[in-house]
């Protein structure tokens, strides 16, 4: 039922995305020794018309994009099994495949939607590692394929996949014409189904997903001043949650989804405040400092807030209790560390890092080893956003004068570029896992 809501929201919701706002994902670097796997074309036993892109094709593309798998091309397959008894393990062993996925799509029970039945088999042992029948809402087959990808990924890698997720980003067209158009777009993590959430002639930045993936908070200059807006993705309803004098920026949801940390300069310089999303409790001011304090990120348990501050002269990452007490400096390496994004129970912080004034890169600070590792190689990289499973970092970069998105695996080995056909794309935010 939740999925049906998602669908309705996106079908009825707001404005269709412009043709140019769809991301195209290019794989720049993969991993040596990625796991060979074959996802055989799924049988189509549904009364619905068969889509041009099959479920197996979507799963293969997802697994390839992760960099950890080397899926076999369909044309190289000798067999097209769709059920476990049809899998001839010897053949697949000769093709040097470790795992095979087979399945079929049928009409859903009671005639509602469809069902994806699939099985993951180990070619060497002949064992079935995973079998599931997954109901999908009408028109939601792609997202169903993403869920299958997540399950296969988890069964073989040991951590949940992040394919059944969405990304939010800002596309800017008309740059330099004096008639820029800013669009906040939400798409599936593979770039498909882009939907424009809001379109404006004034800047939009800092989209942040609510923990349930239902709402986005972002900063809009629609009134000529910065405001923090919360928008419901199902109903399209927009609410201004902060419009104080001065800066209203950098929204970050608390893990329970009830509060937003924001950066407000009503006191003369930006400080971190916490506001009640429903506007019931009074705002609480957490930092009281003449410096810039912004870009809050909550710890996974909601007890701490990480943020950027230049109280020591240059921006660095600090952490404080959710009360604002016990401010501790976290980063020490490099002249510039900003915009933290957290993963793996706060062990890893992805940041914008610079050791000079000219090259800004994405780095991961490991809180256990206190080491900083530079992951990207651009000159103007910014806005890191971890995948909810911590496997990849999505960020904004510039390439030949254009804004593009890039993704890099947390170990730096897998690289992708995500481009739109026209304009700049920036300010990516990876959603939580959508249940």
């Amino acid at each position: 039922m939740v999925k049906r809501l998602v669908l309705l929201g996106f079908v009825l919701g707001l404005l269709p995305a412009s043709a140019w706002s769809q991301l195209r994902i290019e794989i720049v670097d993969g991993v040596e020794g990625a796991m060979p796997i074959a996802v055989a074309p799924f049988a189509w036993d549904s009364s619905e018309p068969e889509p041009a892109t099959g479920v197996a094709e979507i799963i293969s593309a997802n697994l390839r994009r992760s960099g950890l798998f080397d899926p076999m091309a369909e044309r190289d397959m000798i067999d097209r099994p769709t059920r476990p008894p049809e899998v001839r393990f010897g053949t697949w062993r000769l093709l040097r495949v470790d795992h095979v996925v087979v399945g079929r799509v049928t009409d859903g029970e009671d005639g509602w939607g469809q069902e994806i039945e699939y099985h993951l088999l180990d070619v060497h042992t002949g064992r079935i590692l995973l079998s599931q029948a997954l109901p999908v809402a009408p028109g939601d087959l792609r997202f169903g394929a993403h869920r299958v990808s997540d399950a296969v990924y988890e069964a073989l890698i040991g951590i949940p996949g992040a394919f059944a997720t969405r990304i939010a980003y800002v596309v800017v067209t008309g740059l330099g014409t004096g008639e820029e158009v800013f669009e906040l777009v939400v798409a599936d993590a593979d770039g498909h189904n882009p939907q424009t959430i809001v379109r404006n002639t004034q800047p939009i930045l800092s989209p942040a997903w609510s923990p349930d993936g239902r709402r986005l908070a972002y900063v809009s200059f629609a009134t000529g001043r910065s405001n923090v807006i919360v928008q419901d993705l199902f109903t399209g309803q927009m609410r201004t949650v902060s419009s104080e004098r001065g800066i209203n920026g950098a929204p970050a949801w608390s893990p329970d989804g009830r509060e937003l940390a924001v950066s407000l300069s009503r006191g003369g310089s930006p400080d971190i405040w916490v506001i009640d999303v429903d506007g019931e409790a009074r705002p609480r001011q957490l930092t009281h400092h003449w410096s810039i304090n912004t870009e809050a990120a909550w710890s996974h348990d909601g007890r701490h807030i990480y943020f950027t501050s230049d109280r020591a002269g240059r921006p660095q990452i600090y952490r404080m209790d959710r009360s604002g007490d016990n401010v501790t400096r976290i980063t020490n390496e490099g002249r510039y560390n900003a915009r933290p994004s957290l993963a793996n129970d706060d062990r890893f912080l992805a940041v914008v890092y610079s050791d000079g004034d000219n090259d800004f890169r994405i780095a991961i600070h490991d809180r256990e080893t206190e080491r900083l590792r530079v992951l990207s190689d651009g000159r103007l990289d910014e806005s890191p956003s971890f995948a909810p499973n911590g496997s990849m970092v999505l960020y904004a970069a510039r390439q030949q004068g254009r804004g593009v998105l890039a993704a890099v695996s947390a170990d730096g080995r897998v690289r992708q570029r995500l481009v739109v056909s026209e304009g700049d794309v920036r300010e990516p935010a990876w959603s939580p896992i959508i249940r």
Binding site: L8, G9, L12, G13, L14, L175, G176, N200, T201, Q202, P203, L205, S206, F221, A222, T223, G224, R225, S226, F234, T235, G236, Q237, M238, G246, I247, G249, A250, S263, S265, G268, S269, P270, I292, T294, E295, T308, D310, P315, Y336, A338, R339, V352, S354, D357, N358, F360, R379, L380, E382, S383, R398, G401, E427
Partner: protein, 176 residues
């Protein structure tokens, strides 16, 4: 989700866009201000004195400092350099002499570093000009600071020439 609500949202958005239509900012001057006009030019009663900083016509007079409305900053700095001080002082005189005039001080940064941090940096640049205006006895109700950070560059290339044109505070008159 109903159509009425979506229509209402669209109408609201249109109203917002209309509401934020404002005076178009003139093309930014190169970062060096022109020297103040030569002193002791005989003033005729029907001629415009470019040094009369209370006369609204000088806002559009290229010979007057009042026509200059952009203050440029060094990298990562927000102090108003001495060569830009006469421009700020001219606008202070105008605002004092025209109590119904209103300005927005738009603070901007170059593209380097993180966007939200740059919002803070842009605000500092707006505040520096604000402080000078206040010290010159301009009432606070005539001035507002809005930071755009790196969101509204005037120059789009990634080099120092461009960056220095983007690190700026624009004095935007919303009422003359």
């Amino acid at each position: 989700m109903n159509t009425v609500m979506r229509f209402a949202a669209l109408v609201m958005m249109a109203a917002l866009v209309a509401a934020c239509a404002r005076e178009v900012t003139p093309e930014p001057a190169p970062p060096e201000p022109t020297p103040p006009p030569a002193p002791e030019r005989p003033v005729e009663t029907d001629r415009l004195d470019p040094r009369d900083f209370t006369d609204a016509r000088n806002l559009d007079n290229p010979d007057s400092l009042l026509s200059q409305r952009v203050i440029y900053f060094e990298f990562d700095r927000s102090n108003v350099r001495a060569q830009f001080r006469p421009i700020v002082d001219a606008h202070a005189a105008y605002l004092r002499g025209n109590p119904s005039a209103r300005v927005i001080l738009e603070g901007h940064t170059d593209e380097r570093g993180s966007r939200e941090y740059n919002l803070g940096l842009g605000e500092r640049r707006g505040n520096s000009v604000y402080e000078i205006l206040r010290a010159s006895n301009v009432p606070s109700r005539q001035i507002e600071v809005v930071s755009y950070g790196e969101e509204r560059p005037v120059c789009r290339e990634s080099n120092e020439d461009c960056w220095q044109r983007n690190r700026r505070t624009e004095i935007v008159y919303t009422a003359r």
